[in-house]
């Protein structure tokens, strides 16, 4: 893993340093940004630990712990709410036994919330990995999970 971080960092040189882009690269490589790497990332970019840590804390999409194999982005936008998305959501969280920001104990899914996936005509919606699921019901939301073992 150590060599991989170096490999990622060598791709991230720019002036002025781009902390966010670097963190995205790190996350793409590891699935998350390991906090113990912050000092090395900072040193590589010529910024301080605080600089990097602040950016990580600001962006919800930057994770600091390993995610599940599949990331569920569950929409809580206005349109989905209007179409009673909470019904499907309740079914989902019951089945996964985890809340937003959490990962299932088997490491299969990480549940995250988003505000609008842009498919309002087909609300309620969610994404699992790169797949989009629409017109969710308490039943269909469970079926969807089965596509992602």
């Amino acid at each position: 893993m150590v060599t991989t971080l170096d490999a990622v960092l060598t791709r991230c040189r720019s002036s002025p340093p781009n902390i966010l882009a670097t963190l995205q690269q790190v996350q793409a490589a590891f699935g998350f940004v390991p906090l113990e790497h912050v000092p090395r990332i900072a040193a590589h970019l010529g910024v301080t630990d605080a600089d990097v840590r602040g950016v990580i804390s600001f962006y919800h999409d930057l994770r600091t712990s390993p995610p599940g194999r599949h990331i569920i982005r569950y929409c809580l936008g206005d349109s989905c709410r209007a179409k009673h998305t909470e019904r499907a959501l309740t079914a989902l969280t019951r089945r996964l036994r985890c809340d937003f920001g959490e990962t299932t104990t088997d490491g299969r899914f990480t549940l995250t919330k988003v505000y609008c996936l842009g498919h309002c005509a087909l609300s309620p919606t969610m994404m699992i990995g790169e797949e989009t699921y629409a017109q969710l019901t308490p039943r269909s939301v469970i079926t969807a999970l089965q596509n992602h073992p």
Binding site: G46, T48, A50, R53, F58
Partner: protein, 905 residues
């Protein structure tokens, strides 16, 4: 800058374009209430308290982010505005912990000013974060944080460290240090800028939390390094509770470093000497002041009568005031009758004096620290301001953001190298070759200032004879600096338009330190970079009063202001004022005193505030010399290493317990004011001297420190206009002050040099006193760290010890690898004189083949490694180049508290 007029609540105010309404109002003396705005920071606009109404505009813009325009009519005080403010303050307060509601910070002061009596929200959300109390001096309570980011911006904009950051979002946002590791473990340098900015008491000083808010303040000058920062010392019930940097100070402009801001707590250390101690056999016996001072009188008289006055000597302190130093040299010259008086400037910047005397005819910084603002380029050589002169270090960082270019010449990769255009990483002891090499390129390329050379200087041709041999190739062979870097540095220095140089002990503490300073001065002459703002040669003085202690004559071969001992007119002047003919034989410099003691010529010595047995080079010899003395009296705050050799130890008063003046590194004479009475009934150093002098039959007594200064002024041409009442102007006085009411001289040599024409001093490179050999393959360089100060007498007795509690040996990882030494492992350091043991710290700051350590802790007797080699002109010891070898001891690796590694890694 265009001047515009705005109308603030009907009142016309002159403002400058670029200012915000809030800034313009403040400049006119009107404070618009605000939480996130600060005069020391850029506009931010987050707290919404500084709202205003502008005629012809809708809504309530924030005055702290709205730029002024000509003719703006602004209301800052109306029913609607104050209602809004009250509501906003109520929201802030609703989130504050309940126990904090009675505190007296800006937030709560504003709340009561706007009549906020109770909070209407019934079940407000409060956060439950843990307090960060890791820093010894201040703590952070995140639950009181209103996320205004003043602390984060202060760390970034004022200190330039960016150790802390805003963390998270919305209600949960707070401040964390470093990688959320707490203040103590982060890069934080504890300058206190964040604490000073915090408007809610979320960041607070532990001393104030313990003892309460100060009830009054006294302004004084810091007694640490030569920057000379001004502080307001806060006192409550007779106890000092805080020292806050003064915003209007011409030196530090509201900023401070950890030592000055917090490291004053040593004055309350239990270890302080309280009563005089007399040695009886192997024991120390407390004695009364009368008895103790009587003993000094008796012993000094006995030695003088038996062996003559020249068997006695005095060493005074660059940490003492000008007045005390003057009294010490007057005591030695008039009461004892010898010129054997010196001070610790001998071992730091004496080479600057001899070097600058030769070229300019003067012995002090040519310009002011404020000139950093006007300089286009700063040439930093042999100085590490972010550790040794932190407020100047922070200032340099700020200037760099505005476009100042920086060249660093240093064997180590110091923190400022990160911001430098060029780092000239030369071998230790090769300054002269490097500087001659730069001069060579400048002349060859025709970048020199022919007009300046012709009009203001002499001896150019003889100088060029020497310097033309310093081709880049030859210089590379000597210094190890590649020609392209040399070329770039030469171009930058010669063509910037205003190049200022600042140097430290890396220039002076060499066998040819004076020559190095001359070579640096030559560069300034060559390019015309002297005699105008933003240029010049500026030694960064190590101790608070190195400049002043020399100015007032605590030197064996000069009177005050370097007046010659053998000048009949000067001698007559001193006779008239002191009533005693001055002794004629030039006195011994400190290193000569040790030789004299070993030869049996020096028999009695009084050392004030200077731990010679720890800080002088070749310690074993110094210790032998001290043991030879028949009578050694030491005046100090603490029982230091030198006390172990003493016959009598006298407690000293700290800078907070006495009146006087310090002269900082830019020749600025500033007041030191007594804040509290001397503790434990201590008789201050100056009075000790006067009483002993009187006992020796030469009555010395002064009503006040001001009277001493008046006497100094009568004897000292550059100080002749200095009077205490004129020092209260808020700016002090930068000498020369030739007449009373003269405003002082920020920039010297504007029309002509003190000696007339600037004298090009041809200097050849000569190798340092020691060079690496097969037996001793490493070069040892010594220096300082941020958290400690010289021998550590003060800092080791303060909570600063919690940051750094030992000296470590910095060694390059490649060298460590070869020796099989791991980080934190104890190693043996061996020179031709001695061997010591200390832990290794792997660091790429040092170049391979070099090792670095500090000298703040006496236990390892670092200076026993050093030789007696010293600058051939000034006797300034060669601290910076020692040939050593590093030996692995097969012991278990020990943990090293290496704070510096975190600052720079």
């Amino acid at each position: 800058m265009n001047s515009v007029t705005i109308y603030l609540d009907g009142q016309p105010i002159q403002a400058t374009t670029g200012q915000t309404i809030w800034q313009a109002a403040r400049a006119a003396g009107i404070e618009i209430p605000a939480l996130c705005a600060s005069p020391n920071l850029k506009p931010y606009g987050s707290c919404r308290v500084c709202l205003c109404e502008i005629e012809g505009q809708r809504g309530f813009p924030a005055s702290c982010t709205t730029p002024v325009r000509d003719g703006l009519r602004i209301r800052t005080d109306s029913l609607a505005l104050n209602q809004l403010r009250r509501n906003i303050l109520e929201l802030y307060l609703s989130e504050q912990p309940e126990d904090a509601l009675s505190a007296s910070d800006t937030l709560r002061t504003l709340a009561s000013r706007f009549g906020l009596q109770r909070i209407r929200y019934r079940r407000p959300k409060r956060r439950q974060y843990a307090r960060d109390e890791s820093n010894p001096y201040f703590a952070f309570d995140p639950n009181k944080c209103i996320a205004c980011a003043r602390c984060v911006r202060a760390c970034d904009e004022i200190q330039g460290t960016f150790a802390i950051t805003m963390y998270g979002r919305g209600f949960h946002s707070t401040v964390v240090a470093g990688n959320d590791v707490g203040f103590a473990a982060s890069h934080c340098v504890s300058c206190g800028a964040c604490v000073k900015e915090c408007p809610t008491g979320a960041l607070y000083e532990k001393a104030i939390a313990e003892f309460g808010q100060p009830t009054y303040v006294t302004r004084t000058t810091c007694a640490y390094c030569g920057v000379g920062c001004n502080f307001d010392v806060g006192v409550r019930a007779g106890r000092i509770v805080s020292m806050r940097p003064v915003d209007a100070s011409p030196v530090n402009w509201g900023h401070a470093c950890v030592k000055g801001r917090f490291g004053w707590d040593y004055i309350y250390s239990e270890d302080r000497l309280k009563k005089p101690l007399r040695r009886v056999g192997d024991r120390w016996i407390e004695t009364s002041w009368d008895e103790a001072l009587d003993l000094v009188v008796r012993e000094f008289r006995r030695i003088r009568d038996q062996y003559g006055p020249d068997a006695l000597a005095g060493i005074s302190s660059s940490r003492g005031t000008n007045e005390e130093n003057y009294l010490m040299q007057k005591f030695m010259r008039c009461a004892v009758g010898t010129n054997n008086v010196d001070n610790c400037a001998r071992v730091c910047h004496s080479a600057t004096v001899s070097g600058m005397m030769e070229v300019f005819g003067t012995w002090a910084a040519t310009n002011s620290l404020n000139d950093i603002e006007q300089a286009k380029l700063l040439f930093l050589i042999g100085a590490n301001p972010t550790e040794g002169h932190p407020v100047t270090g922070a200032r340099i960082k700020r200037a760099i953001r505005r476009g100042l270019k920086l060249i660093v010449a240093d064997p180590r990769r110091i923190e400022l190298c990160r911001y430098a255009e060029v780092h000239l990483q030369l071998r230790p002891g090769t300054n002269v070759a490097l500087l001659n090499g730069l001069a060579h390129i400048i002349v060859r390329e025709g970048w020199h200032n022919r007009e300046f050379i012709a009009r203001r200087t002499e001896n150019f041709d003889a100088w060029w004879e020497v310097v033309q041999q310093y081709t880049p190739e030859r210089v590379e062979a000597i210094t190890g600096v590649p020609p392209d870097r040399l070329y770039r540095a030469a171009e930058l220095y010669a063509t910037s338009g205003a190049s200022m140089s600042a140097h430290g002990l890396g220039m002076t503490e060499h066998k040819y330190g004076s020559h190095g300073v001359m070579a640096l001065c030559n560069l300034a002459l060559l390019t015309g970079n002297v005699g105008r703002p933003g240029t010049g040669i500026n030694p960064l003085r190590g101790q608070n009063n190195v400049q002043g202690s020399c100015d007032v004559g605590s030197m064996p071969i000069y009177f005050t202001a370097y007046q010659k001992l053998n000048d009949p007119a000067v001698r007559q002047k001193f006779l008239d004022v002191t009533g005693r003919p001055m002794p004629e034989r030039p006195g011994w410099k400190i290193p000569q005193m040790w030789d004299a003691a070993l030869a049996g010529q020096l028999r009695g010595l009084w050392v004030i505030g200077y731990d010679v047995a720890q800080t002088d080079p070749n310690l074993n010899k110094v210790h032998r010399a001290l043991r030879q003395l028949e009578f050694l009296v030491v005046t100090d705050l603490f029982f230091n290493e030198t006390c172990r050799f003493a016959h009598l130890v006298l407690p000293a008063a700290s800078f907070l317990e006495k009146d006087g003046t310090f002269t900082n590194g830019e020749r600025r004479i500033q007041r030191v004011r007594k804040v509290i009475e001397p503790m434990h009934g201590i008789i201050p150093d100056g009075e000790q001297i006067c009483r002993v002098a009187t006992g020796l039959g030469y009555p010395m007594s002064y009503r006040s420190a001001a009277d001493v200064m008046e006497e100094v002024a009568r004897l000292t041409p550059p100080l002749s206009g200095v009077r205490y009442e004129n020092l209260d102007n808020g700016f002090g006085l930068q000498w020369p002050v030739p007449a009373v009411n003269h405003p002082g001289t920020p920039v010297m040599h504007t029309e002509q040099f003190t000696r007339g024409l600037g004298h090009f001093a041809p200097v050849e490179y000569q190798p340092p006193g020691e060079e690496p050999t097969e037996e001793f393959p490493f070069v040892l360089v010594t220096g300082r760290v941020l958290h400690h100060y010289n021998c550590g007498a003060q800092t080791r007795h303060s909570k600063l010890i919690e940051f750094v509690n030992q000296d470590v040996l910095e060694i390059h990882p490649l060298d460590a690898d070869e020796l099989g030494v791991r980080h934190g492992e104890l190693v043996r350091l061996v020179s031709a004189r001695a061997a010591i043991e200390l832990p290794a710290a792997l660091s790429e700051r040092v170049a391979p083949g070099q090792v670095f350590t500090t000298f703040h802790f006496p236990d390892n007797r670092l200076n026993s490694l050093l030789s007696s080699s010293a600058d051939i002109l000034s006797s300034c010891p060669e601290y910076k180049v020692v040939a050593v070898r590093v030996e692995k001891i097969s012991a278990k690796p020990r943990r090293v508290a290496d704070v510096r590694a975190r600052v720079l890694a």
